[in-house]
Amino acid sequence: MSDPILLAEGLEYAYPDAVMALQGLNLRVQPGRRLALLGANGSGKTTLLLHLNGTLRPARGQVRLDGQILGYDRAARLAWRSRVGLVLQDPEDQLFSATVAQDVSFGPLNQGLSDAEARTRVDEALASLRIAHLAGRPTHALSFGQKKRVAIAGILAMRPAVVILDEPTAGLDPHGVAHLLGALRHLQDSGTTLVFSTHDVDLAYAWADDIAILGAGRVLRQGTAVEALADSNLLGSAHLRTPTILALATALRDSGDLEWSDAQPPRTQGELVELIRQRSVHARN
């Protein structure tokens, strides 16, 4: 196992109105992988994300970036946020400028880049999310899915090593989800580490390399997707459920209809259907 790029150790945090949000949370983020933070509403996902980019400061515990314990003075936070980008759930919360290109340029300009450099970054970020054609459009006239992608582009333009996304697929239709995941995959291929929070077990199973299951302000289990989702009791107690594809694939293996190894389980509808087809072709031959 390589050294984690981000490491949260014993985080504790309570909101001003005394609601305890994190209660001794430990998490490791491996570089270059996709980590899903899977948890029900109120399990502390968003609070954790705000700790991972230094927005919130834990009452106890610490966050390490590349092994270094992070400070909370201004300079440290600025450096931290250049390495770790955070995309919040509601794009309305993070689009402040009149046009798409202006909005995406906000981060690079704040980083002190020149106008020309910022422009390059904007073009790059929009292209990597396949929304270059939106550059001149007014932000308020975008569809929800477009706003979501513009918000992500605003972070990408800062070229962070880790991109953290809060519920990236919330509110998107199947087509929008596919489009977004395609763009994120492209991002990962270029070496970016991805962390995303979700309560969608099917999404986490289909799309994450690693999963951390959150409940009551703690990480209840962390491992590869299959490891983390194996225990249906744990999932139930976290107000979650077993992913549909995994449940069916398991039932089909139990009934002797299908064979697959834990190392390479079917993850998506397409993969499972394919497996069923192949088997029936086999059976016929």
Binding site: Y15, A18, T55, R77, R81, D93
Partner: protein
């Protein structure tokens, strides 16, 4: 979101009529205004603190947190009263014994008054006090707007905080100039969203028969006459004791 509000909704007196606390806190403020400060203020401070902590069950720590910011203001403000400024002979600052007495008086009165405010604010949801305004002749349109403001404050605060987090994530507060610009963008966006929310609420409430008025059931809290009487007696006793002590101290 606000610690004060959380206590107001969940304390031992939650189900009692808000008029009772209003009488206690308001009566406290009234006698504090009418009677000698040096003897009345400590008594009021004592009574209100005991009522808040032992009566309503507010933890001492949270009561102190309530007092912390205003007391900070007091500690920086009151010393000014103890200093006199002489303008005749150039500008000269000097300690003034009379001013010191004023400073002490103001400090005592502020602390006592603050304990009355704490009792009221920590035990009574703002909306229940606002509802009482209707009886004081405040037009119902104003009262309805106040109640709606209360509800929307939480919504908009959340958006403001999240918006600032989002801007900070993109280095929006890295220098003074950028901070100002980010804050300006945030405020403009918040206003736009506030107005959008008003329009969407119009649709949402229209589905529930909204025609302009925002009439809802009032919560039923029975007014307890025995308790009101006890509060009256308590305030009377404090007044008498304060006067007696004042005479005794001469």
């Amino acid at each position: 979101m606000f610690a004060i509000d959380r206590h107001a909704w969940a304390n031992r007196w939650r189900d009692r009529h808000p008029g009772e606390r209003l009488l206690l806190a308001g009566g406290g403020l009234l006698i504090l205004s009418l009677l000698p400060v040096f003897t009345t203020a400590p008594l009021i401070l004592l009574v209100m603190t005991i009522a808040t902590v032992a009566g309503a069950g507010i933890p001492v720590r949270d009561l102190l947190a309530f007092m912390a910011i205003p007391v900070g203001f007091l500690l920086t403000g009151a010393p000014f009263l103890a200093v006199s400024l002489d303008l005749n002979d150039g500008i000269r600052l000097a300690f003034s014994p009379a001013g010191a007495m004023t400073a002490l008086e103001v400090t005592l009165r502020s602390l006592a008054a603050l304990s009355c405010l704490a009792l009221l604010a920590l035990t009574t949801p703002v909306v229940e006090l606002v509802a009482l305004l209707r009886r004081l002749g405040v037009p119902s349109a104003i009262v309805e707007i106040m109640l709606l403001i209360y509800r929307l404050i939480f919504l908009f605060m959340e958006q403001a905080i999240t918006g600032q987090h989002a801007q900070a994530a993109r280095q929006g507060y890295s220098t003074f100039g950028r901070s100002l610009r980010s804050l300006g963008q945030l405020v403009a966006t918040l206003l736009q969203r506030a107005l959008q929310r008003a329009r969407r609420l119009e649709t949402g409430l229209a589905a529930r028969g909204f025609e302009g008025e925002l009439r809802v059931l009032s919560p039923v809290h029975a007014l307890s006459w025995p308790r009101l009487l006890r509060i009256g007696v308590l305030l009377g006793a404090v007044s008498l004791l304060a006067l007696r002590l004042d005479r005794w101290l001469g």
